[in-house]
């Protein structure tokens, strides 16, 4: 392969270090970096009754919704994004926070060397319009939809822009427009692993010279009628309606499913050279990424945690970390694991098994927690906010807790940082995400040391 020309350094033999220079999130616990972090460390729950539609007769009536959020505060010209769906609105706010923290407002960038890699979910179906269309076109005689009538009803009941904004590449299109990014743009959707995978791939693109800067992360809500319906039918959700703030209880014996959250986490990733050249502050460095498929079943994880263990192993190997070793301080070389930790019976058992498989005797000495206990499961966006939590743990020397862990599962023997945040030096973190269908991803992020 010949070397690329000009500024294209794809084929350069040397590899770039990749740093995080900006972070932003829009979550059920707020929309500012430090405020959300304080609430995570205080063990607050963002879970409330669903008030976006009447879910009172659903078997699960609660979720962790983003509240009091106005995306117009974060964009240059709200008219540009007038049609933006919920996922795009969350992403615009998270990205603006990251952009500003990175010192990019007003900075001059080469737009052709700046790209986007998001793990954004499907947009929100207009259930009201869809249901009207369905009912208007039902043919009772044939017990099926009359598609001619369906088309005629849809043309009047559905709003074209609302429909088109549901494409999963729309949040990336909005970010490209807002920040004038013209380099490589990808969106991936591997269910609950999507944003971890997006950040991992963006990291390798920067490392290998495909771009100088990438906005990366995820954005998703499934807190809508068909989203809630789908997960209820899968029996994946907690039904603890009478004590909903205690419903998201990863690693506890009485866990009964996950709690839906929503929102977005976005980071500015840059090559270290690019960050230095413009005087930006690196907050952390990404050093490892692993990705695997279970290739087992669409409904169940492999009972030995084969795929998750492989993703973790690959990420640690790329970062040059031997999980069996300990450092000079006597601790394992990974100081915190942000677990996928959904609170489903299966995930928490198998994730624990995968961690034990990889870390062996060191496993009980690594703090593991799930912030899903507080902000619920952000689905495609989950990994992005959890990676940001890792960077905050490094910056502040505090590991966020797993709340609601008052009833530990005797079969799960790790240190899940129960209920109360813990102060300890954190230099190296591992962040896990595993998707429905068996796509698994893990990232290693560490304190930036020049």
């Amino acid at each position: 392969m010949n070397p690329g020309t000009g500024k294209d350094r794809l084929n350069a033999m040397s590899r770039n270090r990749v740093v995080i220079t900006g972070m932003g999130w829009v979550t059920p616990l707020g929309h500012d970096l430090d405020g959300v972090w304080r609430r995570l460390c205080a063990g607050e729950s963002g879970v409330r009754p669903i008030d976006r539609f009447d879910a009172s007769t659903f078997s699960t009536t609660f979720a962790a919704q983003v509240r009091e959020y106005d995306f117009r505060r974060f964009v240059r010209d709200p008219v540009t994004h007038a049609n933006a769906g919920a996922n795009s609105r969350f992403a615009l706010g998270a990205a603006r926070q990251a952009w500003t923290q990175a010192g990019l407002d007003g900075a001059s960038l080469d737009p052709s060397r700046a790209g986007i890699y998001l793990g954004a979910g499907e947009g929100v179906l207009d259930f009201g319009g869809f249901a009207r269309t369905q009912l208007a076109s039902w043919d009772p005689a044939r017990s099926m939809i009359d598609t001619r009538r369906w088309a005629e009803a849809a043309a009047t009941c559905l709003d074209p822009m609302t429909e088109l904004e549901q494409e999963p590449n729309m949040p990336a299109a909005h970010l490209a427009r807002e920040f004038d990014l013209r380099g490589p743009v990808f969106n991936c959707l591997t269910a609950c692993a999507a944003s971890t995978q997006a950040i991992g791939e963006a990291f390798t693109m920067l490392r290998d010279g495909e771009a100088d800067l990438m906005l990366s992360g995820g954005t998703h809500t499934m807190i809508h009628v068909l989203g809630l319906t789908g997960f209820i039918r899968l029996t994946a959700l907690s039904r603890r309606n009478d004590e909903m703030q205690r419903a998201s209880r990863p690693f506890s014996r009485s866990r009964d499913g996950f709690v839906m959250g929503e929102g977005s986490g976005i980071v500015v990733l840059e090559t270290l050279d690019h960050a230095r050249a413009r005087g930006a502050t690196p907050y952390a460095e990404i050093t490892g990424y692993g990705s695997s498929a279970d290739a087992f079943r669409i409904t169940d994880m492999h009972p030995e945690g084969r795929g998750p263990a492989e993703a973790i192993r690959q990420a640690l190997a790329m970062a040059g970390i031997d999980p069996a070793r300990r450092g000079a301080d006597g601790r394992p070389l990974v100081h915190y694991i942000s677990a996928h930790g959904t609170g489903t019976s299966e995930n928490d058992s198998i994730e624990t098994l995968a961690i034990r498989t990889v870390f062996g005797e060191n496993a009980p000495s690594v703090p593991v927690s799930s912030i899903k206990s507080m902000m619920g499961h952000l689905i495609a966006a989950a990994g992005s906010v959890e990676l940001i939590a890792c960077v905050m743990a490094i910056r502040h020397g505090v590991v966020p807790p797993t709340i609601n862990l008052d009833d530990p599962d005797p079969d799960l023997p790790l240190d899940y940082v129960p209920n109360v945040a813990r102060s300890c030096a954190v230099d190296v973190c591992l962040s896990n995400s595993f998707g429905f269908g068996g796509q698994n991803d893990a990232l290693v992020v560490r304190r930036f040391i020049a």
């Binding site: 052709s112 743009v185 997960f231």
Partner: protein
């Protein structure tokens, strides 16, 4: 050997790049050589022409179109009444799924079926043994060295399936009673209903059938999904995380909801009952009036050249350049296309530069060629920008007039056709177009041509562009 190891330690360790070596604790990660070359060793298109490359290739060369009036559902309520459908008769999915996996057919929507059939065809074409072809044999590619990247669209739920459930919750006034839906109505949906429509299920079913345990991703960028998936597979193989990947995309928008969204996007040609379905799609023609939808896609086997040669494969072509860029759209949805946008041309230039060739060395181009006037104009502008005065002499190969716009599958179909063109040194026929003076795009019969490099273009609703450069592989 410490506990850091690849999942299948020792297996083909001589060929595993980017995995820990086990020697020493620091610097365990050995970066792969960036020069790792990537070849196409198998292609599996599934289109309105049928399953497999031969069916598509013969239709393209003989100038036959598979576009016809829509028969799969009553489309009389839609402005566009024609498409490249894949009927149940043309694709009996049971023939493409191992017997032991057939119980999963009930959780596969049509998009998933297309990917599963395409993967089976690609694996056959590449001569691979997998768990899916023979569960008792040793797989050609070690499972943890086999990745999977399949682009997908926003999959629309089946209104008939949902309709059955929703109608049970209809209130007396014809609206939906949400209380009833929450308490009872939703029970009429099969428990796994959601999993039928998740975009990542294309890749998930394929990885399970063929035991691909390497990196697997699902790119969802409308029409660019297939090309971006190929770019992702290249990145994964180059960094040493896999030796081979199933790569491509598939989509079927010929259902009431997805087809309605296409109408909302104003990209389809309006048709009248008296129109000749075969002649509607006219890429780059002055009288182009929109595209038509096609069901389909393609899965390819992309392999590191070292792995392919090691197993004695005969590559169809080498992929030597890939680049992606983003359009600056006047509107974020990308419905209004920037006529003078310079980012598609930037993608072409990058792909050529990464492939180490100049614009003069491109022998043929497979553009998106959608027949959507604004998108045709965008491609025309990019081609003229990069190829200048030579533009009218470079043959363009258009596929949409034969099978329709297969959306997330389209670019993967284009790459599959480009690989076959290079192997056969043949340019397929072109249909329907006349009066184009500034491009080599008028209707013509198939002809032989000395092809060394073929460029494939993709540009999506939403503004993602990708360019893929293929080179003939001479063993």
């Amino acid at each position: 050997m410490g506990p850091v190891r690849s999942g299948n330690a020792g297996h083909r360790s001589d060929r595993i790049h980017g995995q820990p070596t086990g020697a020493g604790d620091a610097d365990r990660y050995t970066p792969p050589p960036m020069s790792r070359r990537i070849v196409v060793t198998g292609v599996g298109p599934v289109t309105a022409c049928g399953v497999g490359i031969d069916a598509l290739w013969s239709a393209l060369c003989e100038g036959r179109t598979a576009i016809d009036r829509i028969r799969g559902f009553d489309a009389s309520g839609y402005a566009c009444g024609i498409a490249g459908e894949i009927t149940d008769e043309a694709l009996d999915i049971r023939q493409h799924v191992p017997k032991s996996y057939r119980k999963n057919l009930k959780v596969m929507c049509r998009d998933i079926e297309l990917a599963v059939a395409g993967a089976a065809a690609a694996i056959t074409d590449a001569g691979l043994v997998t768990r899916g072809t023979d569960p008792d044999a040793t797989p050609t590619i070690a499972p943890d060295r086999f990745g999977c990247h399949i682009g997908a669209g926003l999959i629309a739920a089946d209104p008939h399936e949902l309709g059955q459930a929703l109608i049970s919750s209809a209130a007396a006034d014809g609206t939906l009673d949400l209380h009833h839906w929450g308490a009872q109505g939703m029970q009429n949906l099969t428990p796994l209903w959601l999993l039928k429509y998740l975009p990542n299920m294309l890749a998930c079913h394929v990885t399970i059938i063929h035991d691909c345990r390497g990196p697997s991703n699902t790119i969802t960028c409308c029409e660019a999904s297939g090309a971006l998936s190929i770019g992702e597979s290249m990145r994964v193989i180059r960094r040493g995380a896999a030796d081979a990947c199933l790569s491509g995309g598939a989509e079927d928008k010929l259902n009431p909801m997805a087809f309605m969204r296409l109408h909302f996007a104003d990209r389809l040609a309006a048709t009248a009952p008296e129109d000749d379905p075969a002649s509607i799609v006219r890429p780059f023609s002055p009288d182009a009036r929109g595209t038509v939808a096609g069901a389909g896609g393609a899965i390819l086997v992309l392999e590191a050249l070292d792995a392919a040669l090691g197993r004695g494969a005969r590559p169809a072509a080498e992929i030597v350049g890939f680049a992606a860029t983003q359009n600056v759209c006047p509107d974020t949805v990308g419905l209004r296309i920037p006529a003078e946008g310079e980012t598609l041309s930037a993608a072409i230039r990058l792909a050529l530069s990464r492939g180490g060739i100049t614009a003069d060395e491109v022998d043929a181009i497979v553009p998106f060629g959608s027949s959507i006037p604004a998108v045709d104009a965008l491609e025309r502008h990019a081609l003229r920008t990069v190829f200048g005065a030579r533009t009218p002499t470079i043959p363009l190969v258009t596929i949409v007039p034969t099978i329709g716009n297969t959306h997330a599958g389209s670019a993967a179909v284009s790459v599959a056709v480009a690989a076959r063109m290079l192997r056969e040194r043949m340019l397929p026929a072109r249909l329907n177009t006349a009066g184009i003076t500034d491009l080599d795009a008028n209707a013509t019969a198939a002809r032989t041509a000395s092809l060394e490099h073929v460029l494939v273009l993709s540009t999506s609703q939403g503004g993602q562009n990708a360019a893929v450069l293929l080179r003939r592989f001479d063993a």
